[in-house]
Symmetry: C2
Subunit: 248 residues, 2 copies
Protein backbone atom coordinates (compact mmCIF):
# COMPACT_ATOMS: atom_id res chain seq x y z
CA UNK A 1 0.00 0.00 0.00
CA UNK A 2 2.94 2.30 0.49
CA UNK A 3 3.15 2.85 -3.24
CA UNK A 4 -0.43 4.05 -3.37
CA UNK A 5 0.08 6.30 -0.39
CA UNK A 6 3.13 7.79 -2.04
CA UNK A 7 1.23 8.34 -5.24
CA UNK A 8 -1.65 10.13 -3.51
CA UNK A 9 0.76 12.22 -1.48
CA UNK A 10 1.88 13.84 -4.70
CA UNK A 11 -1.55 15.40 -4.95
CA UNK A 12 -1.97 16.70 -1.44
CA UNK A 13 -1.41 16.04 2.24
CA UNK A 14 -2.84 12.91 3.79
CA UNK A 15 -4.18 12.96 7.31
CA UNK A 16 -2.94 10.43 9.83
CA UNK A 17 -6.35 8.78 9.86
CA UNK A 18 -6.35 8.43 6.13
CA UNK A 19 -2.93 6.81 6.13
CA UNK A 20 -3.93 4.50 8.96
CA UNK A 21 -7.07 3.49 7.12
CA UNK A 22 -5.09 2.69 4.02
CA UNK A 23 -2.46 0.77 5.87
CA UNK A 24 -5.20 -1.26 7.49
CA UNK A 25 -6.05 -2.63 4.09
CA UNK A 26 -4.70 -6.01 3.35
CA UNK A 27 -3.45 -6.18 -0.20
CA UNK A 28 -2.41 -9.49 -1.62
CA UNK A 29 0.95 -9.64 -3.30
CA UNK A 30 0.82 -11.43 -6.61
CA UNK A 31 3.21 -12.14 -9.40
CA UNK A 32 2.49 -12.46 -13.08
CA UNK A 33 4.64 -13.69 -15.91
CA UNK A 34 5.58 -11.57 -18.88
CA UNK A 35 2.69 -11.55 -21.29
CA UNK A 36 0.08 -12.45 -18.69
CA UNK A 37 -3.30 -10.78 -19.01
CA UNK A 38 -4.05 -9.04 -15.75
CA UNK A 39 -7.39 -7.80 -16.91
CA UNK A 40 -9.48 -8.64 -19.93
CA UNK A 41 -11.61 -5.95 -21.43
CA UNK A 42 -14.70 -8.10 -21.19
CA UNK A 43 -14.51 -8.96 -17.54
CA UNK A 44 -15.60 -6.79 -14.65
CA UNK A 45 -12.56 -5.85 -12.62
CA UNK A 46 -13.19 -6.72 -9.05
CA UNK A 47 -9.80 -5.53 -7.88
CA UNK A 48 -7.69 -2.45 -7.64
CA UNK A 49 -4.00 -3.06 -7.92
CA UNK A 50 -0.74 -1.25 -7.70
CA UNK A 51 2.47 -2.10 -9.53
CA UNK A 52 5.36 -2.98 -7.27
CA UNK A 53 7.88 -4.21 -9.78
CA UNK A 54 7.89 -4.59 -13.55
CA UNK A 55 5.98 -2.89 -16.33
CA UNK A 56 2.55 -3.38 -17.84
CA UNK A 57 0.44 -1.81 -20.57
CA UNK A 58 -3.15 -0.87 -21.14
CA UNK A 59 -4.09 -1.74 -24.67
CA UNK A 60 -6.95 -2.08 -27.09
CA UNK A 61 -7.07 -4.89 -29.60
CA UNK A 62 -8.84 -4.14 -32.86
CA UNK A 63 -10.86 -6.70 -34.77
CA UNK A 64 -8.31 -6.70 -37.59
CA UNK A 65 -5.56 -7.75 -35.20
CA UNK A 66 -4.00 -4.37 -34.71
CA UNK A 67 -3.09 -3.21 -31.24
CA UNK A 68 -2.98 0.27 -29.78
CA UNK A 69 -1.28 0.75 -26.46
CA UNK A 70 -3.03 3.39 -24.41
CA UNK A 71 -0.62 3.74 -21.55
CA UNK A 72 2.41 2.28 -19.92
CA UNK A 73 2.16 1.34 -16.28
CA UNK A 74 5.31 1.53 -14.22
CA UNK A 75 6.00 0.75 -10.57
CA UNK A 76 4.01 3.01 -8.29
CA UNK A 77 1.14 3.27 -10.73
CA UNK A 78 -2.30 2.44 -9.45
CA UNK A 79 -4.67 0.72 -11.72
CA UNK A 80 -8.36 0.11 -12.09
CA UNK A 81 -9.57 2.89 -9.90
CA UNK A 82 -12.53 2.89 -12.24
CA UNK A 83 -13.59 -0.25 -10.44
CA UNK A 84 -14.54 2.09 -7.62
CA UNK A 85 -17.08 3.58 -9.85
CA UNK A 86 -18.39 0.39 -11.32
CA UNK A 87 -17.25 1.22 -14.82
CA UNK A 88 -16.34 -1.54 -17.20
CA UNK A 89 -13.00 -1.73 -18.82
CA UNK A 90 -12.79 -1.22 -22.53
CA UNK A 91 -9.22 -2.41 -22.75
CA UNK A 92 -6.81 -5.08 -21.61
CA UNK A 93 -4.02 -4.85 -19.10
CA UNK A 94 -1.04 -6.98 -19.96
CA UNK A 95 2.28 -7.61 -18.25
CA UNK A 96 5.16 -6.35 -20.32
CA UNK A 97 7.69 -7.95 -18.00
CA UNK A 98 7.46 -10.34 -15.12
CA UNK A 99 5.39 -8.43 -12.66
CA UNK A 100 4.73 -8.01 -8.95
CA UNK A 101 1.55 -6.24 -7.90
CA UNK A 102 -0.38 -5.54 -4.74
CA UNK A 103 -4.00 -6.34 -5.22
CA UNK A 104 -7.06 -5.32 -3.23
CA UNK A 105 -10.71 -6.22 -3.70
CA UNK A 106 -12.63 -3.24 -4.99
CA UNK A 107 -15.11 -3.70 -2.16
CA UNK A 108 -12.38 -2.97 0.34
CA UNK A 109 -11.61 0.21 -1.52
CA UNK A 110 -15.22 1.19 -1.54
CA UNK A 111 -15.39 0.69 2.19
CA UNK A 112 -12.31 2.87 2.51
CA UNK A 113 -14.00 5.63 0.56
CA UNK A 114 -17.02 5.46 2.80
CA UNK A 115 -14.90 5.80 5.92
CA UNK A 116 -12.64 8.44 4.42
CA UNK A 117 -14.75 10.27 1.86
CA UNK A 118 -12.14 12.95 1.36
CA UNK A 119 -9.88 10.38 -0.21
CA UNK A 120 -12.15 10.41 -3.24
CA UNK A 121 -10.78 13.84 -4.06
CA UNK A 122 -7.26 12.47 -4.12
CA UNK A 123 -8.35 9.60 -6.33
CA UNK A 124 -9.97 12.18 -8.55
CA UNK A 125 -6.63 13.95 -8.69
CA UNK A 126 -4.91 10.73 -9.70
CA UNK A 127 -7.43 10.34 -12.51
CA UNK A 128 -6.76 13.91 -13.58
CA UNK A 129 -3.10 13.04 -13.92
CA UNK A 130 -3.87 9.92 -15.93
CA UNK A 131 -5.92 12.11 -18.18
CA UNK A 132 -3.04 14.50 -18.70
CA UNK A 133 -0.91 11.59 -19.85
CA UNK A 134 -3.62 10.51 -22.26
CA UNK A 135 -3.96 14.02 -23.64
CA UNK A 136 -0.26 14.16 -24.29
CA UNK A 137 -0.54 10.82 -26.04
CA UNK A 138 -3.24 12.25 -28.30
CA UNK A 139 -1.08 15.20 -29.26
CA UNK A 140 1.84 12.89 -29.90
CA UNK A 141 -0.15 10.69 -32.23
CA UNK A 142 -2.06 13.48 -33.89
CA UNK A 143 0.51 16.14 -34.54
CA UNK A 144 4.01 14.76 -34.39
CA UNK A 145 5.94 12.74 -36.90
CA UNK A 146 7.66 9.47 -36.28
CA UNK A 147 11.00 10.65 -34.98
CA UNK A 148 9.40 13.22 -32.67
CA UNK A 149 6.93 10.67 -31.38
CA UNK A 150 9.69 8.29 -30.42
CA UNK A 151 11.75 10.90 -28.66
CA UNK A 152 8.79 12.44 -26.91
CA UNK A 153 7.69 9.10 -25.54
CA UNK A 154 11.16 8.18 -24.37
CA UNK A 155 11.44 11.48 -22.53
CA UNK A 156 8.07 11.03 -20.90
CA UNK A 157 8.86 7.57 -19.66
CA UNK A 158 12.22 8.68 -18.43
CA UNK A 159 10.70 11.51 -16.44
CA UNK A 160 7.96 9.34 -15.01
CA UNK A 161 10.51 6.86 -13.82
CA UNK A 162 12.43 9.57 -12.07
CA UNK A 163 9.31 10.98 -10.43
CA UNK A 164 8.62 7.60 -8.89
CA UNK A 165 12.26 6.78 -8.18
CA UNK A 166 14.77 9.58 -8.14
CA UNK A 167 17.77 7.56 -9.18
CA UNK A 168 16.19 5.62 -12.01
CA UNK A 169 18.48 5.23 -15.00
CA UNK A 170 17.96 6.99 -18.29
CA UNK A 171 18.09 3.64 -19.95
CA UNK A 172 15.13 1.82 -21.39
CA UNK A 173 15.99 -1.80 -21.43
CA UNK A 174 14.52 -4.50 -23.53
CA UNK A 175 11.13 -3.94 -21.98
CA UNK A 176 10.24 -1.73 -24.90
CA UNK A 177 10.99 -3.61 -28.04
CA UNK A 178 10.24 -2.26 -31.50
CA UNK A 179 6.84 -3.79 -31.69
CA UNK A 180 5.77 -2.37 -28.35
CA UNK A 181 7.00 1.07 -29.33
CA UNK A 182 5.16 0.75 -32.63
CA UNK A 183 1.88 -0.09 -30.94
CA UNK A 184 2.37 2.79 -28.56
CA UNK A 185 3.18 5.31 -31.24
CA UNK A 186 0.80 4.28 -33.98
CA UNK A 187 3.63 3.27 -36.29
CA UNK A 188 4.92 0.07 -37.83
CA UNK A 189 7.78 -1.74 -36.10
CA UNK A 190 9.94 -1.26 -39.16
CA UNK A 191 9.47 2.47 -39.12
CA UNK A 192 10.21 2.62 -35.40
CA UNK A 193 13.42 0.82 -36.09
CA UNK A 194 14.34 3.30 -38.78
CA UNK A 195 13.45 6.28 -36.63
CA UNK A 196 15.55 4.96 -33.78
CA UNK A 197 18.43 4.37 -36.14
CA UNK A 198 18.20 7.96 -37.35
CA UNK A 199 18.13 9.31 -33.80
CA UNK A 200 21.08 7.11 -33.00
CA UNK A 201 23.07 8.46 -35.94
CA UNK A 202 22.15 11.99 -34.86
CA UNK A 203 23.58 11.27 -31.42
CA UNK A 204 20.37 12.03 -29.53
CA UNK A 205 20.04 8.51 -28.27
CA UNK A 206 22.49 5.65 -27.94
CA UNK A 207 21.51 2.15 -28.93
CA UNK A 208 23.49 -0.73 -27.56
CA UNK A 209 22.27 -4.19 -28.40
CA UNK A 210 18.68 -3.06 -28.75
CA UNK A 211 18.86 -1.21 -25.47
CA UNK A 212 18.01 2.46 -25.81
CA UNK A 213 19.57 5.23 -23.78
CA UNK A 214 18.83 8.93 -23.92
CA UNK A 215 22.18 10.44 -24.71
CA UNK A 216 21.35 14.12 -24.47
CA UNK A 217 18.10 14.91 -22.72
CA UNK A 218 18.11 18.64 -23.42
CA UNK A 219 18.81 18.19 -27.09
CA UNK A 220 16.19 15.46 -27.24
CA UNK A 221 13.59 17.67 -25.56
CA UNK A 222 14.21 20.55 -27.92
CA UNK A 223 14.09 18.32 -30.98
CA UNK A 224 10.62 17.05 -30.25
CA UNK A 225 9.12 19.96 -28.36
CA UNK A 226 8.93 18.03 -25.13
CA UNK A 227 7.77 19.84 -22.03
CA UNK A 228 7.11 17.62 -19.06
CA UNK A 229 5.02 20.21 -17.23
CA UNK A 230 2.00 17.98 -17.54
CA UNK A 231 3.65 15.49 -15.23
CA UNK A 232 4.23 17.96 -12.45
CA UNK A 233 1.02 19.16 -10.83
CA UNK A 234 1.85 22.55 -9.45
CA UNK A 235 -1.06 23.29 -7.16
CA UNK A 236 -1.48 20.53 -4.60
CA UNK A 237 -4.81 19.81 -2.99
CA UNK A 238 -5.72 21.48 0.24
CA UNK A 239 -8.46 19.21 1.38
CA UNK A 240 -7.86 19.15 5.18
CA UNK A 241 -7.74 22.91 5.35
CA UNK A 242 -10.95 23.24 3.43
CA UNK A 243 -12.62 20.76 5.70
CA UNK A 244 -12.08 23.02 8.67
CA UNK A 245 -13.23 26.25 7.13
CA UNK A 246 -16.11 25.18 4.96
CA UNK A 247 -17.63 22.70 7.35
CA UNK A 248 -18.33 25.41 9.89
Amino acid sequence: MQALIDRLKRFGPLSRDQITAMEAMNPRRRTHERGAVLRRSDEASGHVFCLVEGWAIRCRLLPDGQRQILAILIPGDVCDLQALVGADQDHHIIALTDLTVNECPASEFEALLVKQPDLARLFLAAKVEDEALLREHVVRLGRRKARERVLHLLLEICERQRLADTDAPRRLAYTLNRETLADLLGLSPVHVSRSLAALNRAGVIAIDRGCIELADIDQAASQCGYDGAYLRPRAPLQSPQLQNTAQA
Copy 2:
Protein backbone atom coordinates in the same frame (compact mmCIF):
# COMPACT_ATOMS: atom_id res chain seq x y z
CA MET B 1 -27.38 23.19 -12.85
CA GLN B 2 -29.94 20.81 -14.29
CA ALA B 3 -27.49 19.81 -17.00
CA LEU B 4 -24.91 18.78 -14.43
CA ILE B 5 -27.47 16.88 -12.41
CA ASP B 6 -28.56 15.03 -15.53
CA ARG B 7 -25.01 14.19 -16.38
CA LEU B 8 -24.25 12.78 -12.93
CA LYS B 9 -27.49 10.83 -12.91
CA ARG B 10 -26.15 8.76 -15.76
CA PHE B 11 -23.59 7.35 -13.34
CA GLY B 12 -25.80 6.53 -10.43
CA PRO B 13 -28.73 7.62 -8.30
CA LEU B 14 -28.64 11.00 -6.61
CA SER B 15 -30.15 11.47 -3.20
CA ARG B 16 -32.67 14.22 -2.59
CA ASP B 17 -30.15 16.02 -0.39
CA GLN B 18 -27.54 15.90 -3.10
CA ILE B 19 -29.89 17.33 -5.65
CA THR B 20 -31.05 20.01 -3.26
CA ALA B 21 -27.47 20.95 -2.48
CA MET B 22 -26.66 21.24 -6.15
CA GLU B 23 -29.74 23.26 -6.91
CA ALA B 24 -28.82 25.61 -4.11
CA MET B 25 -25.74 26.59 -6.07
CA ASN B 26 -26.01 29.78 -7.94
CA PRO B 27 -24.40 29.46 -11.34
CA ARG B 28 -23.97 32.50 -13.49
CA ARG B 29 -25.21 32.27 -17.05
CA ARG B 30 -22.70 33.63 -19.49
CA THR B 31 -22.43 33.87 -23.24
CA HIS B 32 -19.34 33.74 -25.37
CA GLU B 33 -18.84 34.49 -29.02
CA ARG B 34 -17.58 31.98 -31.50
CA GLY B 35 -13.82 31.80 -31.20
CA ALA B 36 -13.72 33.12 -27.66
CA VAL B 37 -11.16 31.60 -25.34
CA LEU B 38 -12.98 30.32 -22.27
CA ARG B 39 -9.84 29.13 -20.62
CA ARG B 40 -6.20 29.69 -21.42
CA SER B 41 -3.77 26.93 -20.66
CA ASP B 42 -1.61 29.23 -18.59
CA GLU B 43 -4.26 30.52 -16.25
CA ALA B 44 -5.60 28.80 -13.18
CA SER B 45 -9.22 27.98 -13.75
CA GLY B 46 -11.23 29.33 -10.90
CA HIS B 47 -14.54 28.13 -12.29
CA VAL B 48 -16.37 25.01 -13.20
CA PHE B 49 -18.80 25.40 -16.05
CA CYS B 50 -21.39 23.50 -17.93
CA LEU B 51 -22.38 23.95 -21.57
CA VAL B 52 -25.97 24.96 -22.09
CA GLU B 53 -25.95 25.75 -25.77
CA GLY B 54 -23.31 25.65 -28.49
CA TRP B 55 -20.11 23.68 -28.91
CA ALA B 56 -16.57 24.13 -27.65
CA ILE B 57 -13.25 22.34 -27.92
CA ARG B 58 -10.33 21.53 -25.71
CA CYS B 59 -7.15 21.96 -27.65
CA ARG B 60 -3.40 22.14 -27.42
CA LEU B 61 -1.42 24.62 -29.47
CA LEU B 62 2.05 23.54 -30.45
CA PRO B 63 4.97 25.95 -30.73
CA ASP B 64 5.11 25.46 -34.49
CA GLY B 65 1.54 26.67 -34.85
CA GLN B 66 -0.11 23.29 -35.16
CA ARG B 67 -3.23 22.54 -33.18
CA GLN B 68 -4.51 19.27 -31.79
CA ILE B 69 -8.06 19.15 -30.58
CA LEU B 70 -8.37 16.88 -27.58
CA ALA B 71 -12.11 16.78 -27.18
CA ILE B 72 -15.33 18.28 -28.32
CA LEU B 73 -17.63 19.69 -25.69
CA ILE B 74 -21.33 19.61 -26.41
CA PRO B 75 -24.33 20.82 -24.42
CA GLY B 76 -24.61 18.96 -21.12
CA ASP B 77 -20.87 18.54 -20.81
CA VAL B 78 -19.26 19.68 -17.63
CA CYS B 79 -15.87 21.22 -17.79
CA ASP B 80 -12.96 21.97 -15.55
CA LEU B 81 -13.76 19.53 -12.83
CA GLN B 82 -10.01 19.38 -12.42
CA ALA B 83 -10.34 22.78 -10.81
CA LEU B 84 -11.74 20.84 -7.87
CA VAL B 85 -8.45 19.22 -7.49
CA GLY B 86 -6.31 22.26 -8.02
CA ALA B 87 -4.73 20.95 -11.17
CA ASP B 88 -3.57 23.32 -13.83
CA GLN B 89 -4.83 23.13 -17.32
CA ASP B 90 -2.42 22.16 -20.03
CA HIS B 91 -4.77 23.14 -22.81
CA HIS B 92 -7.14 25.80 -24.02
CA ILE B 93 -10.91 25.76 -24.16
CA ILE B 94 -12.32 27.62 -27.11
CA ALA B 95 -15.86 28.29 -28.28
CA LEU B 96 -16.57 26.64 -31.59
CA THR B 97 -19.91 28.41 -31.92
CA ASP B 98 -21.61 31.16 -30.01
CA LEU B 99 -21.93 29.67 -26.58
CA THR B 100 -24.06 29.76 -23.46
CA VAL B 101 -22.62 28.31 -20.29
CA ASN B 102 -23.49 28.09 -16.63
CA GLU B 103 -20.50 29.00 -14.55
CA CYS B 104 -19.76 28.39 -10.89
CA PRO B 105 -16.77 29.40 -8.80
CA ALA B 106 -14.68 26.36 -7.99
CA SER B 107 -14.86 27.30 -4.32
CA GLU B 108 -18.60 26.78 -4.37
CA PHE B 109 -18.03 23.34 -5.83
CA GLU B 110 -15.50 22.54 -3.19
CA ALA B 111 -17.94 23.51 -0.50
CA LEU B 112 -20.47 21.25 -2.17
CA LEU B 113 -18.06 18.36 -2.02
CA VAL B 114 -17.45 18.94 1.65
CA LYS B 115 -21.16 18.91 2.40
CA GLN B 116 -21.88 15.98 0.09
CA PRO B 117 -18.68 13.96 0.01
CA ASP B 118 -20.31 11.11 -1.84
CA LEU B 119 -20.70 13.35 -4.84
CA ALA B 120 -16.97 13.06 -5.38
CA ARG B 121 -17.54 9.49 -6.48
CA LEU B 122 -19.93 10.65 -9.16
CA PHE B 123 -17.47 13.26 -10.33
CA LEU B 124 -14.90 10.52 -10.42
CA ALA B 125 -17.29 8.57 -12.63
CA ALA B 126 -17.63 11.55 -14.94
CA LYS B 127 -13.86 11.71 -15.22
CA VAL B 128 -13.77 8.01 -15.99
CA GLU B 129 -16.11 8.64 -18.89
CA ASP B 130 -14.00 11.52 -20.17
CA GLU B 131 -11.08 9.16 -20.06
CA ALA B 132 -12.92 6.58 -22.13
CA LEU B 133 -13.49 9.22 -24.78
CA LEU B 134 -9.82 10.12 -24.75
CA ARG B 135 -8.78 6.48 -25.05
CA GLU B 136 -11.01 6.09 -28.05
CA HIS B 137 -9.41 9.18 -29.52
CA VAL B 138 -5.98 7.63 -29.07
CA VAL B 139 -7.02 4.47 -30.88
CA ARG B 140 -8.56 6.52 -33.65
CA LEU B 141 -5.38 8.50 -34.19
CA GLY B 142 -3.00 5.62 -33.70
CA ARG B 143 -4.53 2.77 -35.60
CA ARG B 144 -7.08 3.99 -38.10
CA LYS B 145 -6.62 5.57 -41.45
CA ALA B 146 -8.11 8.80 -42.64
CA ARG B 147 -11.47 7.63 -43.87
CA GLU B 148 -12.07 5.46 -40.82
CA ARG B 149 -11.07 8.27 -38.51
CA VAL B 150 -13.57 10.62 -40.05
CA LEU B 151 -16.43 8.14 -39.91
CA HIS B 152 -15.60 7.00 -36.41
CA LEU B 153 -15.59 10.53 -35.09
CA LEU B 154 -18.84 11.42 -36.80
CA LEU B 155 -20.49 8.38 -35.27
CA GLU B 156 -19.18 9.20 -31.83
CA ILE B 157 -20.43 12.76 -31.95
CA CYS B 158 -23.75 11.64 -33.28
CA GLU B 159 -24.20 9.17 -30.45
CA ARG B 160 -23.09 11.63 -27.80
CA GLN B 161 -25.63 14.12 -29.05
CA ARG B 162 -28.36 11.59 -28.79
CA LEU B 163 -27.33 10.54 -25.31
CA ALA B 164 -27.72 14.10 -24.14
CA ASP B 165 -30.77 14.86 -26.25
CA THR B 166 -32.78 11.99 -27.63
CA ASP B 167 -34.09 13.73 -30.69
CA ALA B 168 -30.91 15.37 -31.84
CA PRO B 169 -30.43 15.26 -35.60
CA ARG B 170 -27.87 13.12 -37.34
CA ARG B 171 -26.65 16.20 -39.07
CA LEU B 172 -23.40 17.91 -38.27
CA ALA B 173 -23.78 21.44 -39.36
CA TYR B 174 -21.16 23.96 -40.18
CA THR B 175 -19.84 23.75 -36.64
CA LEU B 176 -17.27 21.23 -37.77
CA ASN B 177 -15.53 22.65 -40.77
CA ARG B 178 -12.69 20.90 -42.53
CA GLU B 179 -10.01 22.57 -40.50
CA THR B 180 -11.64 21.64 -37.21
CA LEU B 181 -12.02 18.04 -38.32
CA ALA B 182 -8.41 18.02 -39.41
CA ASP B 183 -7.18 19.24 -36.05
CA LEU B 184 -9.33 16.66 -34.34
CA LEU B 185 -8.18 13.78 -36.47
CA GLY B 186 -4.52 14.57 -36.89
CA LEU B 187 -4.89 15.12 -40.61
CA SER B 188 -4.55 18.01 -43.02
CA PRO B 189 -7.72 19.89 -44.00
CA VAL B 190 -7.16 18.91 -47.60
CA HIS B 191 -7.10 15.26 -46.76
CA VAL B 192 -10.20 15.55 -44.63
CA SER B 193 -11.91 17.07 -47.59
CA ARG B 194 -10.82 14.21 -49.82
CA SER B 195 -11.87 11.60 -47.29
CA LEU B 196 -15.27 13.16 -46.89
CA ALA B 197 -15.67 13.29 -50.65
CA ALA B 198 -14.86 9.58 -50.89
CA LEU B 199 -17.36 8.72 -48.15
CA ASN B 200 -19.90 10.86 -49.92
CA ARG B 201 -19.35 9.03 -53.20
CA ALA B 202 -19.63 5.73 -51.35
CA GLY B 203 -23.02 6.83 -50.02
CA VAL B 204 -22.07 6.47 -46.35
CA ILE B 205 -22.52 10.14 -45.67
CA ALA B 206 -24.35 12.86 -47.50
CA ILE B 207 -22.76 16.26 -48.00
CA ASP B 208 -24.97 19.17 -48.80
CA ARG B 209 -23.32 22.53 -49.08
CA GLY B 210 -20.58 21.62 -46.60
CA CYS B 211 -23.10 20.21 -44.17
CA ILE B 212 -22.43 16.57 -43.30
CA GLU B 213 -25.12 14.03 -42.59
CA LEU B 214 -24.70 10.38 -41.71
CA ALA B 215 -26.64 8.59 -44.41
CA ASP B 216 -26.41 5.03 -43.19
CA ILE B 217 -25.32 4.61 -39.59
CA ASP B 218 -25.03 0.83 -39.62
CA GLN B 219 -22.96 0.78 -42.76
CA ALA B 220 -20.84 3.59 -41.39
CA ALA B 221 -20.25 1.74 -38.12
CA SER B 222 -19.21 -1.44 -39.87
CA GLN B 223 -16.88 0.38 -42.22
CA CYS B 224 -14.82 1.92 -39.45
CA GLY B 225 -15.20 -0.66 -36.71
CA TYR B 226 -17.21 1.68 -34.53
CA ASP B 227 -18.64 0.34 -31.31
CA GLY B 228 -20.08 2.94 -29.02
CA ALA B 229 -20.02 0.71 -25.96
CA TYR B 230 -17.51 3.02 -24.34
CA LEU B 231 -20.18 5.70 -24.19
CA ARG B 232 -22.65 3.58 -22.30
CA PRO B 233 -21.52 2.73 -18.78
CA ARG B 234 -23.21 -0.53 -17.99
CA ALA B 235 -22.80 -0.83 -14.25
CA PRO B 236 -24.15 2.23 -12.48
CA LEU B 237 -22.83 3.35 -9.14
CA GLN B 238 -24.51 2.14 -6.01
CA SER B 239 -23.25 4.67 -3.59
CA PRO B 240 -26.34 5.18 -1.37
CA GLN B 241 -26.70 1.48 -0.84
CA LEU B 242 -23.09 1.13 0.14
CA GLN B 243 -23.39 3.99 2.53
CA ASN B 244 -25.98 2.11 4.52
CA THR B 245 -24.25 -1.21 4.71
CA ALA B 246 -20.62 -0.28 5.12
CA GLN B 247 -21.08 2.61 7.47
CA ALA B 248 -22.53 0.33 10.11
